[in-house]
Amino acid sequence: MKILTRERLVGLAFLAPTLILFAVFVVYPIVYNVQASTLDWDGVNAGTFVGAGNYGELFQDPTFLITLRNSAFWIVLTIIPQALIGFLLAVALNQGLRGSTIYRAIFFIPAILSPVVVGIVWQRILDPFNGVLTSLGKAAGLEFLGGNYLTDPKTAIFAVIFVNVWMWTGFSMLFYLAGLQLIEPSLVEAARIDGANGFQTMVRITFPLLKTTTLSLVLLGIIGSLKTFELVYVLTQGGPNHASEMLPTFAFLEAFQLQNVGYASTISVVLLVIAVVSSLSMVRVFGAGFITGDEK
């Protein structure tokens, strides 16, 4: 009994540094945010307790509903194209193409750039007044290239999503490339001997074997989508008229421009709940194996 207790204490002692860090940097901010979400508070002066009032207000706030819609668009329209294009690029680069290392670097460069830089560059490219695409469109007679993609409330969020996909596809490609290089060549060889063509091999052998990679990318994509900030802030500032607002840009606007820290905390708590529920749902449906690399 004593040994068991001692073992437990030793175990806890080993866990203590992690637990302390977890408590300080994860638990404390969450508790602080949850508490702040029950206040009418500007972040500096004494707040007033409003209970669930901020939540009631938030769920009726049209901007909040726009951010939820935009998050849904972002998750679907980022993760699927990014994974698909990333997979195809990885397959192409895995064929032993000449100069594949250079291509790999080129495709991956956007992922290591600052989103602020990417935002400024794409803003210039998409500027309908005299941006690169507009000039190109005029020269080539393709007027649609000079459209108001970032400034039209109907297209702004999709334009930002497009830039995000451009930025992060190289990241997906690298994940898939790493996965592809772990696939036993004999499996592909066996499929070919059995008469599978290139497309069949890719769809029925290679892609299923990359299931854990795909699921990891989906999980990272969902979390990344929910916490996206810089690109939206630089490209559109969440506008025009909140049309491309996301939960983090909305929280920033409320906390630091409108001096409404209580309300911004409410947004953050809702964001946290959505992120946790999404992640747990993924783990529940697919098992934790896709994170560890083990099958369910």
Partner: protein, 440 residues
């Protein structure tokens, strides 16, 4: 299972510890500021880093043994820093502020400055400042509170700028009326340069252009709506929204205006000669900073620019109105350990040797009268400077700010909705009124 329980207890314990430093309290006030006896800390977003260093050197040169520990941020980062520091009792001794909402948010953490001002400049100290600076310094104070919690360091008008080369080449004059604006825009359209470059992505810029229009439609009426005396749906305000709408529907603003930011995109375009007119403000003169080298040709001595006021509106005021106010002001932490030194630094930055360094860079128009740059690089630059300091600033009567950040955002949103066709001027006015109703 038991280990799980232990973990749960540990996590709950951590949560309880977390709650001991809970959200929602006012910033603690028992301790002093950060600096030691001969040092004051200064944090702001303005003046820019390079200029601030020169100001500090000037002050420290005149005050042996005293030092200033300064950090300059971008504005959004500064807001985050200031809020975090105020709520953790690490507020700097001197802070950069904007009049109205930002100063009011930190009012309880700030020291009243009128005694510091009177000791430094005498009892008639207010006469040294432009009237709009004094008026705005107390914007939003509770009724009966006559304290100055911040004092302006830089002031400005908001106005339009013309590329005088483009106007000269086309044989045109800068527009004085709305009809002039339309005809000039028509004359200049089709060329390489945008006739009227409107960087309407920024909410502050949408609002200052609207305030110029609104005051030209009916001087001062918009502030009556702001204080609830009249509704936002008042015909004069709806008309102002309509003229904002016409900037887009009449083809005055360039295509995609609502997606163009002022900094860096629009100003780069304007400085490169790609626009004939742009709405900015007096601070544009900083492009010709005599202390800088490698200045673009248009900005060299302000050779390619001419400031002018937003054109008059048919049926509105007969003359264009002056809109402007404080660019940046300074406050002192109530808990500073060095109130005397902080006062000395603040007043030096406003009207002493530090201020002279600031003015030499033409960062903006100083808040006090009688300060001029030691060097002008052209007669035109000097003429423009004198126009601002002698003629325009003393006449500024209307604020470029709204007091409430919520109302400020509501107006900015309404203007964006009009620009994108999501709302009519009437609907936009009603949407601002609905926010106003929540404030009253």
């Amino acid at each position: 299972m038991k280990l799980r329980k232990s973990l749960a207890v540990a996590v709950a314990g951590a949560a309880a510890v977390g709650l001991t430093a809970c959200a929602g309290g006012a910033a603690p006030t028992q301790n002093g500021g950060e600096g030691d006896a001969d040092t004051v800390t200064f944090r702001s977003w303005s003046p820019i880093e390079q200029t601030t260093r020169q100001m500090i050197e000037a002050f420290e040169g005149e005050n042996e043994g005293s030092s200033i520990d300064a950090t300059i941020f971008n504005y959004p980062e500064y807001l985050v820093d200031l809020q975090s520091r105020a709520s953790s009792n690490t507020m700097p001794d001197i802070v950069g502020l904007q009049p109205g909402a930002l100063t009011q948010q930190y009012r309880d953490n700030l020291m009243p400055l009128q005694d510091c001002a009177a000791e430094t400049w005498g009892d008639d100290w207010q006469d040294r400042f432009y009237p709009i600076g004094i008026e705005q310094s107390r914007m939003g104070n509770p009724e009966g509170d006559e304290n100055f919690y911040s004092l302006p360091i830089l002031t400005q008008t908001v106005n339009l700028w013309a590329n005088s080369n483009i106007f000269d080449d086309a044989g045109l004059e800068v527009p004085k009326t709305w009809d002039d604006l339309k005809s000039v825009t028509e004359e200049l359209s089709g060329g390489d340069a945008a006739p009227f470059l409107l960087p309407a992505k920024d909410s502050w810029l949408r609002n200052v252009v609207f305030l110029q229009i609104a005051n030209n439609v009916s001087p001062g009426t918009v502030y009556e709506a702001e204080d609830g005396t009249i509704p936002w749906t008042d015909p004069a305000i709806v008309e102002a929204f309509s003229y904002w709408s016409k900037l887009f529907s009449d083809g005055i603003a360039q295509d995609g205006a609502i997606g163009l930011d002022a900094y860096p995109s629009a100003v780069n375009q304007f400085e490169a000669g790609n626009a004939a007119m742009i709405p900015l403000g007096a601070w544009w003169i900083q492009q010709s900073d005599p202390t800088k080298s490698d200045i673009p040709p248009l900005s060299e001595g302000m050779s390619g620019y001419e400031p002018f006021l937003f054109p008059t509106i048919p049926g509105g005021a007969s003359e264009s109105q002056f809109v402007g106010g404080i660019d940046v002001s300074l406050g002192i932490s109530k808990n500073t350990a060095n109130p005397d030194l902080a006062c000395k630094v603040l007043t030096d930055f406003i009207a002493g040797s530090g201020a002279q360094k600031l003015v030499n860079t033409m960062n903006d128009v100083p808040a006090v009268t009688g300060l001029s740059p030691e060097e002008f690089t052209s007669e035109k630059q000097e003429e423009i400077w004198n126009l601002f300091v002698d003629e325009w600033l003393p006449q500024v009567q209307y604020s470029r700010y709204f007091e409430s950040p919520k109302l400020d955002q509501a107006v900015a949103d309404a203007l964006a909705a009009i620009a994108t066709g999501d709302a009519t001027p009437e609907e936009a006015a009603a949407s601002v009124q609905s926010v106003q109703d929540t404030l009253n």
